[in-house]
């Protein structure tokens, strides 16, 4: 079993901005070198690499630029932001099974200054896009908006519930000087008056468009004890591809509202020594606000259909029942395919977050819900 046999010992990131001048490759190198420096590990010791299939800097380019040694494990995970936590999971398995000793996971993306992927008309994926895009359903916001309206219809969720999610993330970003929305508070009036993107989703239900890169370093628990930073252990990890799942447009099965989070959660909790009630802080993938109530249900913080009402009464804020996205998340810190959620989980368990949950000892980090996903339980 994976339990606590590996640890994250270094984290690094670049600045987040709507536009950064450097290339994605240069940003990737900066984030990786910063993470190694944070860990106190020399680049030539790196022998394992993991990233997303959507990452454009490949292993060869990264390894030779940072001066990695002989690399004996490398892995890429598919499905966009669904792969974030799996990068760490694959490295944790590699170091726990002796396939490698020092693993680096990273994501570098210029989504702020680059083009929106859905505007590329020459790159329509045959499946499932042939069943959506010719019919007017163009963007991820439309695809998730469809699930959001059904969820609101079935369970009485309202825009105020989605606002609770957006507000919690924005409030944490207002505490985080590195967040894009650091100095920009959000009010209910701003939210309710915002322009629509895909009704029922408005501007503030959508994540930011960000340039930036992040990385982290994974080693065995034994090695971790000698590193510069307090280790954050990978207690449990899981990927999730449910039976008869169809990707972001999961419209063709019995129940489109129970997505990959449910599958990942079953594996995650099965191999953990604690349960949802013992989670001190959570970093929940938030490309769109409705993913948060769906994930709260999937990961077992509440029952089916209760995710929206869970957000009431400041539950997601600091001091609430489950503080989430304490760096500001994809909605308000920066959207780098969820990698900032991993690093923020590490900061919480080191006790150095800008919105620190007192004595946080356990943290759930999740990847994109709606797509084949992954999750990590981290422990101090």
């Amino acid at each position: 079993m994976l339990r606590d046999r590996s640890a994250i010992v270094g984290i690094g990131q670049t600045r987040f901005a709507k536009r950064l001048e450097e290339s994605e490759k240069a940003l990737a190198c900066r984030a990786v070198l910063a993470a190694l420096d944070d860990a106190g590990i020399e680049p030539h010791e790196v022998d394992a690499l993991a990233s997303y299939t959507m990452e454009e800097t490949d292993e060869v380019e990264l390894a030779k630029a940072i001066g990695a040694g002989d690399v004996t494990f490398f892995s890429r995970i598919g499905f966009g932001g669904g792969g974030s936590c799996a990068t760490v999971a694959h490295l944790a398995m590699a170091v726990a099974t002796g396939q490698a000793t020092v693993g680096v996971a990273w994501r570098s993306r210029k989504r702020g200054s680059g083009r929106r992927p859905w505007t590329n008309t020459a790159q329509q994926l045959p499946t499932p896009a042939q069943w959506t895009r010719p019919f007017g359903l163009l963007r991820p916001a439309d695809e998730i908006g469809m699930l959001a309206r059904r969820y609101m219809h079935e369970y009485g969720a309202t825009r105020d519930h989605l606002f609770n999610v957006a507000l919690a993330c924005r409030n944490r970003a207002n505490q985080n000087p590195d967040a894009i929305m650091y100095e920009r508070p959000l009010t209910r009036e701003m939210y309710m008056d915002a322009r629509w993107i895909s009704e029922p989703l408005c501007l503030y239900d959508n994540c930011l468009e960000t340039d930036g890169a992040l990385a982290c370093v994974v080693v065995s628990a034994e090695r971790a004890r000698d590193c510069r930073q307090r280790p954050v252990y990978v207690h449990s990890a899981a990927q999730g591809l449910p039976a008869q799942h169809h990707g972001m447009v999961n419209y063709w099965n019995d129940d489109p509202l129970t997505g990959p989070a449910w599958t990942a959660a079953r594996q995650l909790w099965k191999t953990a020594e604690f349960g949802p009630e013992d989670v001190d802080v959570a970093q929940i993938y938030d490309a769109f606000t409705p993913l948060v109530p769906l994930s709260l249900e999937g990961y077992g913080f509440c029952g089916r259909g209760e995710g929206a009402s869970f957000t009431e009464g400041g539950a997601l804020e600091l001091g609430g029942r489950l503080p989430i996205n304490t760096g500001g998340g994809g909605l308000s810190e920066g959207y780098v395919h969820g990698f900032n959620l991993i690093n923020e989980g590490v900061k919480q368990l080191r006790g150095v977050s800008t919105a620190q949950v007192p004595d946080a000892a356990t943290c759930l980090v999740t990847a994109g819900e709606g797509v084949p996903t992954s999750a990590l339980l981290l422990r101090a």
């Binding site: 929106r116 505007t119 008309t121 020459a122 329509q124 994926l125 045959p126 499946t127 499932p128 896009a129 042939q130 069943w131 959506t132 895009r133 010719p134 019919f135 007017g136 359903l137 163009l138 963007r139 439309d142 908006g145 469809m146 699930l147 309206r149 059904r150 219809h153 322009r195 629509w196 993107i197 895909s198 009704e199 029922p200 989703l201 008869q244 169809h246 447009v249 419209y251 063709w252 099965n253 019995d254 489109p256």
Partner: protein
């Protein structure tokens, strides 16, 4: 192969499994792949049956009747041709023959108006559960898409 219409709307890029759907749509028929052995309908199309493993299939004619499972109303930012039509509703319709099969489509006011503008149905008229009927719009000489007409509309 063209990827967009002259107006700038995206065209399907069918894969091997999806090709028959588009061929039938071109003839004004909504047909869904079904297993010849166990009879189960499946969508999107795929090489074999997830229930029984058979590679034998047929394309079964649907009634075209369905119900609105959900919908969005798209606003910019969109591709230019789409932005010109915005805001427009897009429906997700569960088929009468198998509610697990939900098809995406734009809406029209009547079965007699397959070519109505995308914004012909005001979103205030839409209710989840509302009955709809498939209609066929030829967007190019080669490609026909399915749209949904509000019944009693």
């Amino acid at each position: 192969m063209d990827t967009i219409t002259a107006e700038g709307l995206l065209l399907p890029w069918p894969d091997n499994d999806g090709e028959p759907f588009w061929e039938h749509a071109r003839h004004g028929e909504l047909r869904i792949q079904a297993c010849t052995d166990c009879g189960r309908l499946r969508f999107p199309p795929r090489p074999c049956c997830p229930q029984c493993g058979s590679f034998d299939d047929e394309w079964r004619l649907m009634s075209g009747r369905g119900r609105l499972w959900s919908y969005v109303v798209a606003h910019p930012p969109l591709l230019p041709a789409y932005a010109e039509r915005a805001p427009y509703p897009v429906a997700l319709v569960e088929l009468e023959e198998d509610p697990r099969i939900r098809l995406v489509g734009t809406l029209t006011t009547s079965v007699r108006r397959p070519n109505a503008p995308w914004n012909a149905v005001p979103p205030q008229r839409l209710r989840i559960g509302a009955p709809v009927q498939a209609v066929f719009q030829a967007v190019t000489p080669e490609v026909t898409v399915v749209r949904w007409a509000l019944c009693n509309g």
